[in-house]
């Protein structure tokens, strides 16, 4: 073979290799290189990630333009949407093989998720993203110390937090041109009422949610300088889980108790609701309302569309009771933060406008925003069931058991009551009253109900109840405790809710629903009836879980203090720490805002605990075991000022291993509050920041080594 022949064979071989390679290349699937989101893979709920991009290559070479790439985000849970609100979008690659989506905006749900990226044939990958922070609704009610107080006041609002605990604007410059970070309505009915219909704006505030021991403070800077400290309100916050916290105003200008809850937005409200409100009327006397209502699209539909509200309600206005009143109203659509307006309610003949803040499709906070009257409360969905007497309580053979807690507002006749009932629905529960027996505790301005034989609480109670299933008043009912069984507590309006709701923690689907309660007998207060599903001490005082707790306490005249905290049981003894708001100086600590406050006591199960779920922490028990609050002195002195330690007589009613109510029944003090088992808190905004800080510190240390 000569050189020429060799050259020809080599050329042919090379040609064959090139040909074969080319053939195999053309049949190989393209590859997607995930370029990710630009500028970041994490953003605050409601804000945009920028665009999502993916590069399609074939054998490491960009495929060139015109290849279809589909981005698909989850349709539920943490996710986002592309321009136009779609959860999926198909884009073509450009000359560099890069497919770029439209702006991708986080929805309202915090958490991690993946956007699937696919092209044909069958190549795919994920872009991993995380929505941080959350949009939270909040409400509190209590005693205002400014503006010539003590006054009644109510506050409800919505605020956006990022993952680091900063208060940040929602959306973008198009959806939120003024850059507000939240909105709220404040009403003391005594000259400090937020301007309507706008309400107050909550402004961006870095480092707004700050850890203080196991609790947090949340600073809300508003555009209303008459409120709080020159427009700045501070809340004390105790998280129960990622989506729920107990709160109190914590800045010395007011003290109160309420709840902070992650909002599910947008939400289409359910068809029927139960509600209660507590506040003051135009004469500044205490008033409560409770009832049920349905919502339906207004016809003919106005622009924008509204919902027409029809229902039935009861009222106790400073002892003047009226029941079965007609309720009407028109509900506007909610805005981006879940705030809307209900007009024309005419509650009590004078409540013109209620604003609402959506927590979710079956939970809404309500606040009366009229200048001369004020009230705040909640509306909870009723689900789809037709209620009967048998709907009340959880099975505790042979009866249906519930625990209850009701308290006056800060401007009423001050009282608190809690108890347990075992109900027996009538044979014909749709038409006949059911009956119940049980036990209860009540403290009326220092007067405590005691058993006639033992001369200590609880009092034995009995009575009748009825729950309507009639269309238009489904779940509307009443419960009457035989007069004198439980002091002056006798007639309660009860308004049934969806069993898939937890009335203390509306984002939690366990808890069994129960009913909202309004007292209608001259005393007026509001509260809840919660199905009692577990009285086993081992699941509560014997539990290894930790509990968030809080209470609203009235003492002496119209003085109030409030606290939130967390603690746990060890060998049946409870110990916790928390924040205590005390502008009226009950503890004489030198400060209205007390941190590192100690809470302790060892609940003693009643002899009847297995049937009632009741425990006591009493100075009068054979072995005294009072509930002790220890408030450190605020001013550091030399010698050191000792803390203020006050013993309280407290009874507890266990609804389950996850929730209980506690009532203080002293001559100088009364309160009602709850203990709620804590859950996952990994997504609580400032927790993430705290963890990041720990990680960063560790990295720095390693580098230094």
């Amino acid at each position: 073979m000569n050189r020429k022949t060799y050259a020809s064979i080599l050329a042919l071989t090379l040609l064959a290799i090139v040909f074969l390679t080319a053939c195999s290349s053309s049949s190989a699937p393209p590859v997607i290189a995930i370029a990710g989101a630009s500028p970041a893979s994490g953003t605050t709920v409601t804000t945009d990630y920028g665009t999502l991009t993916a590069v399609v290559t074939s054998n490491g070479t960009p495929v060139g333009q015109g290849v279809s790439v589909t981005f698909t985000a989850p349709t539920a849970g943490p996710s986002g949407t592309f321009a136009g609100g779609a959860s999926s979008e198909t884009d073509l690659t450009d000359s560099t093989g890069t497919a770029t989506s439209s702006l991708f905006t986080a929805n309202y749900v915090p958490g991690a998720f993946a956007v699937a990226v696919t092209t044909l044939p069958a190549a795919g990958g994920n872009i991993n993203l995380t929505n941080g922070g959350g949009v939270y609704s909040f409400y509190v009610t209590g005693t205002e110390a400014i503006n010539g107080g003590p006054n009644f006041y109510a506050l409800a609002g919505s605020v956006v937090l990022d993952a680091a605990g900063d208060v940040v604007p929602y959306g973008d410059s198009v959806s939120n041109p003024t850059g507000i970070s939240g909105e709220q309505d404040y009403n003391d009915a005594f000259g400090l009422t937020s301007p309507e219909p706008s309400g107050d704006a909550i402004l961006a505030e870095p480092l707004a949610l700050v850890a203080v021991g196991g609790q947090y403070t949340l600073t809300l800077t508003t555009n209303n300088t008459a409120l709080g400290v020159a427009g700045v309100e501070t809340l004390g916050v105790q998280f129960v889980n990622n989506s729920h916290a107990l709160i109190t105003q914590f800045d010395g200008t007011a003290t109160s108790s309420g709840s902070l809850d992650l909002q599910i937005l947008p939400s289409t409200p359910g068809a029927s609701f139960a509600f209660t409100l507590s506040g003051v009327d135009p004469a500044y006397n205490s008033v409560v309302y409770g009832g049920v209502f349905g919502l339906a699209a207004t016809t003919p539909a106005p622009t924008p569309p509204t919902l027409t509200l029809t229902g039935i309600y009861d009222e106790d206005d400073a002892g003047a009771v009226s029941t079965g009143n007609t309720l009407t109203g028109i509900a506007s659509q909610s805005d981006a933060l879940g705030r809307g307006t209900i007009t024309g309610t005419n509650l009590g003949g004078y409540v013109g406008t209620l604003n609402y803040y959506i927590v979710g499709p079956e939970a809404v906070r309500l606040i009366d925003v009229d200048a001369n009257d004020s009230a705040v409360g909640s509306a909870f969905g009723q689900g789809t069931a037709t209620f009967t007497n048998a709907s009340l309580g959880a099975a505790c053979a042979p009866a249906q058991c519930s625990v209850f807690g009701v308290e006056s507002n800060s401007y009423g006749f001050l009282y608190a009551t809690a108890g347990q009932i075992a109900a027996t629905p009538a044979a014909s529960p749709d038409t006949t009253d059911g009956t119940f027996t049980g036990v209860g505790d009540v403290d009326e301005e220092g007067s405590v109900c005691v058993d006639s034989v033992t001369l200590v609480p609880p009092c034995t109670i009995a009575g009748t109840y009825f729950v309507s299933g009639t269309t238009g008043q489904n779940g509307y009912g009443n419960l009457t405790i035989t007069a004198g069984d439980l002091g002056d507590v006798s007639v309660l309006g009860i308004y049934m809710t969806d069993p898939a709701l937890n009335l203390n923690d509306p984002n939690n689907t366990t808890g069994g629903g129960g009913a909202l309660v309004a007292e209608l007998d001259g005393l007026n207060g509001t509260g809840v009836l919660t199905p009692q599903t577990d009285t086993t001490p081992g699941d509560f005082t014997g539990s290894a879980s930790s509990y968030a707790f809080g209470a609203q306490d009235f003492f002496c005249s119209i003085c109030e203090f409030d606290y939130v905290g967390q603690g746990s049981f060890t060998a049946g003894a409870f110990s916790g720490t928390g924040l205590l708001s005390d502008p009226y100086n009950a503890f004489d600590s030198g400060s209205a805002m007390n941190t590192g406050v100690g809470f302790s006591g060892a609940p003693l199960a009643d002899a009847t605990e297995s049937a009632t779920g009741r425990y006591t922490m009493y100075t009068t028990n054979e072995t005294p075991n009072p509930f002790v609050i220890t408030v450190p002195a605020f001013v550091v002195t030399n010698p050191v000022t000792p803390p203020t330690v006050i013993d309280f007589n407290v009874a507890i009613y266990q609804a389950s291993g996850t929730q209980a109510y506690w009532i203080d029944e002293d001559t100088f003090s009364l309160s009602l509050g709850s203990l709620q088992q804590q859950g996952d808190m990994s997504l609580v905004p400032a927790v993430r920041r705290a963890r990041a800080a720990v990680k960063a510190a560790a990295k720095t240390k390693q580098k230094q080594k």
Partner: protein, 152 residues
């Protein structure tokens, strides 16, 4: 020490208060509903103010209290919350003549006069409404504004 001394004085005074003969004894049923207010059982008592307490002494029910001496003995009148606080507080001082309308109740095994109105110094203050429900200082202020034609 001053506060402690004042408290002891009040305690001594309250413990010396004797049930009034002119007030009918309460029934057991009434005792079980301590704050149930029956306007039909109202009486008016006249006397001399001994002291006014904006906060209760130990053993008293919550709220403000007016201690006054009648010809039949001393009376602890409950003025409910806020009666002695704020701009429209009841203006009252020891030694003044007073007429108090209300209902005598047994609360915590002691006789307490739930005051509905207090007449002192030519002024009539409403403490509770006809249901026995406490009327706040703000309510009194709004009522006075209304009567002055200012509206609410």
């Amino acid at each position: 020490m001053k506060r402690l001394f004042a408290g002891l004085c009040v305690l001594a005074l309250v413990s010396a208060i004797s049930p009034l003969a002119l007030v009918q004894a309460q029934t057991a049923a009434d005792d079980k509903r301590p704050f149930a207010y029956d306007v039909a059982k109202e009486v008016t008592l006249s006397g001399t103010v001994l002291s006014a307490l904006d906060k209760p002494a130990k053993g008293m029910i919550m709220g403000s209290h007016l201690l006054f001496a009648t010809s039949s003995g001393s009376v602890d009148a409950s003025l409910a919350s806020l009666a002695l606080q704020g701009k429209h507080a009841v203006s009252i001082a020891a030694g003044q003549q007073v007429e108090v309308t209300g209902v005598m109740k047994t609360i915590k095994e002691k006789q307490v006069f739930l005051a509905r109105t207090v007449k002192v110094g030519g002024e009539v203050y409403t403490i509770r409404n006809e249901h026995g429900y406490p009327v706040s200082q703000h309510s009194r202020e709004r009522a006075s504004r209304k009567s002055a034609g200012e509206g609410l």
